[in-house]
């Protein structure tokens, strides 16, 4: 850091407000779309794993193996097919969410009390209808808990995408390093943390609204 350079130059932030907002939007998209895609993959896989338990261990192992591959390596693999695009960042991030989301979908379905499942069957629900109208709604609190973890980790991981030029706010971090200029680094880091925290808070709120029935947890059925 140059002598006399302050940690934060507020005028820089003022000059770059518009640009920062654009990058924040991109960052959110890069962080949250993978969670959505991850959920779209995990719900059916989780249902299958719940129904046929023997599928679950290999599926979970596969998801964990994917999670263990360094993001850099995955970017390099996908860059050959999808180029230096947002997709190259989002595909690995989507794969990373699976190791959190699949177990949570399975645990969520397992949290449906057996009497409830039996009552649903005895009322005359077909299997598909029972899963959609009874089991999945009851699994929501556990699934949302997984979504919160996935969303926070995904938002902070986006910055790594800057290695292929698609890192959202990560751009300011590398830029600040190159210029030996701390203001953008600190600004981007704080913004990323804020994004993660606000997203988490919104998810908690969404869950409250979605599951008014779950407030007395433990007293169900």
């Amino acid at each position: 850091m140059r002598d006399g350079e302050p940690l934060i130059r507020w005028d820089w932030i003022g000059d770059h407000i518009g640009e920062l907002a654009d990058y924040t939007g991109v960052h959110l998209r890069l962080g949250l779309l993978p969670v959505l895609f991850g959920l779209i993959i995990s719900v059916p896989l989780g249902i299958l794993c719940h129904r046929w338990r023997w599928i679950y261990p290999p599926t979970l192992t596969a998801a964990n193996v994917l999670y263990s591959i360094p993001s850099l390596a995955l970017f390099m693999i996908f860059v050959r097919y999808t180029g230096l695009t947002e997709r190259t960042v989002m595909i690995p991030l989507t794969l990373y969410t699976l190791s959190v989301l699949i177990p949570n979908v399975v645990d969520g379905l397992a949290s449906v009390p057996e009497p409830v499942r039996q009552a649903a069957t005895a009322m005359g629900f077909s299997t598909v209808r029972r899963v959609v109208q009874v089991e999945l709604p009851i699994a929501v609190p556990v699934v949302v808990a997984g979504v919160r973890v996935a969303a926070v980790s995904s938002i902070s991981l986006v910055a790594v995408g800057q290695l292929i030029g698609q890192g959202g706010l990560g751009y300011y971090i590398t830029r600040g390093l190159q210029l030996d200029f701390p203001t953008p680094i600190i600004t981007a880091t704080v913004l990323i943390m804020l994004l993660a925290l606000v997203t988490d808070a919104l998810l908690v709120l969404a869950q409250r609204l979605l599951t008014p029935w779950a407030r007395g947890k433990g007293a169900t059925a």
Partner: protein
């Protein structure tokens, strides 16, 4: 209505849950399946709505083999209530009750108005409609469970230990409510319990199953207590079955005397003349005031001046059973039970010995009184009469041993015939051995 024909359920690991069960459940009655754990009662129940498929035999509903009906469709026509209610935690009380109507495609509005009706029917305030199950007590949840089972007004209800997860006081309330509901609805109900007291209280007929899924006896509660088919049933029914049978004798049929019932304005001398250790003092409307011990009476004046000992409790000739009467006798300071009419006026008194005269040794008179409500007063002499009719009893066996349902019908038919001897003959004849 519901018929089991040589139904068995064997599991691949070699266990037999239900073994060659044949049973016919009458329409509009409560049939209780009772037995120790592992007797296959729940399995039997679940075969009715195809939650369990038998490995042999057929279950039919109104003459149709239930395997010919698609399971979800069959189930929408059969109400189901389970131990922990199994309410859908994510749905409001009203939407829980509307479940089956919605599955049947009634439309939201109609389904909800039906649900609101049912909420009232099971005795819950409409303010509960918007609540979620976690906001209800166990007893309330169970009521919602019953309402949900009644959703589409199914003719058949299956109930699997519905009241066993709540405390005894709430259980008593729910049972009373259930009896009231059934009087109104006349559903064909199959009810599983491990509690013989509950079975006797609720059942029109009781099927006692033994471990291994074999039917031990199928009979009315009265006859189950009076004539257990074998040691297993006798044991299961319990040591105090003699006392419990008294629940089936109407208090109205008990012999009472009123010689020692005296108005408060009677002179003391009249109490002495009764030649009893105690007299019952009543007011102008014959309402009981208390017991007066004759030995402690003042030398003159009226009974109004005497120190009275509190009554204990009375029994009502209108609603109580002999069990309440006997209890009243045992708790009374004079050892005499006081019988009152619906207005609370004393009809008469009896001691435990006199009461027991109405409850003959093997219960035949009890059966007759309970089944027909005859006004005749059975005496201990009836027991002797019955021994004399042993031949009739044997003849009766041949008729009745084949089919449990027809046996019940036969009993009813013969008692309707009227004379005392017939009643006794039937009593011994139906004992199912």
């Amino acid at each position: 209505m519901i018929r089991f024909d040589a139904v068995s359920k064997n599991y691949p690991n070699g266990t037999t849950a239900v073994d060659e069960l044949s049973l016919e459940l009458a329409e509009g009655g409560i049939t209780v399946l009772v037995g120790p754990s592992g007797c296959g009662k729940t399995t039997t129940l679940r075969m009715v709505n195809r939650m369990v498929e038998p490995t042999a035999g057929t279950v039919s509903l109104r003459g149709q083999d239930i395997r010919e009906i698609a399971a979800p469709e069959l189930r929408r026509g059969i109400g189901y209530v389970i131990q922990h209610a199994g309410l859908f935690p994510h749905r409001t009380v009203l939407d829980n009750i509307a479940t089956v109507p919605l599955l049947l495609g009634w439309g939201k509005k109609k389904a909800r108005s039906r649900a609101a009706e049912l909420l009232e029917l099971v005795g819950l305030p409409s303010s509960m409609a918007k609540r979620y199950p976690y906001q209800l007590s166990g007893g309330q949840q169970q009521r919602v469970g019953v309402a949900r089972a009644l959703g589409a007004d199914p003719p058949v209800l299956l109930m699997d230990e519905p009241f066993s997860a709540v405390d005894p006081i709430v259980r008593g309330e729910l049972q009373a409510e259930f009896i009231r509901l059934q009087k109104e609805l006349h559903k064909t109900i199959v009810f599983v319990t491990h509690d013989i007291d509950e079975a006797i209280k609720l059942g029109d007929h009781i099927a006692v199953l033994r471990t291994g899924g074999k039917l031990a006896q199928f009979d009315t509660p009265e006859r189950l207590l009076a004539h257990p088919a074998d040691d297993f049933v006798a044991d299961f029914v319990g040591q105090d079955r003699g006392i419990r049978r008294l629940s089936f004798v109407k208090a109205a049929d008990l012999p009472l005397r009123d010689g020692l019932v005296l108005p408060a304005d009677s002179p003391v001398a009249r109490a002495r003349a009764a030649d009893e250790p105690w007299v019952l003092v009543v007011d102008g409307d014959r309402r009981p005031l208390g017991w007066a011990a004759v030995a402690d009476l003042p030398s003159g004046g009226t009974l109004a001046d005497a120190a009275l000992t509190p009554l204990g409790h009375t029994f009502s000739l209108a609603g109580d059973s002999a069990r309440a009467a006997l209890d009243a006798a045992l708790l009374s300071p004079s050892r005499l039970a006081v019988g009152v009419d619906p207005q609370g006026a004393v009809v008469g008194v009896a001691d435990a010995y006199e009461l027991s005269a109405a409850m003959t040794g093997d219960g035949t008179a009890v059966d007759a009184a309970a089944e027909e409500g005859t006004a005749e007063e059975p005496t201990p002499g009836d027991a002797a009469v019955e021994e004399g009719t042993a031949e009739e009893a044997t003849a009766g066996d041949a008729v009745t041993a084949k089919d449990a349902v027809s046996k019940v019908t036969v009993v009813k038919g013969e008692t309707d015939g009227g004379s005392g001897d017939d009643v006794d003959g039937t009593g011994a004849g139906g004992d199912g051995r």
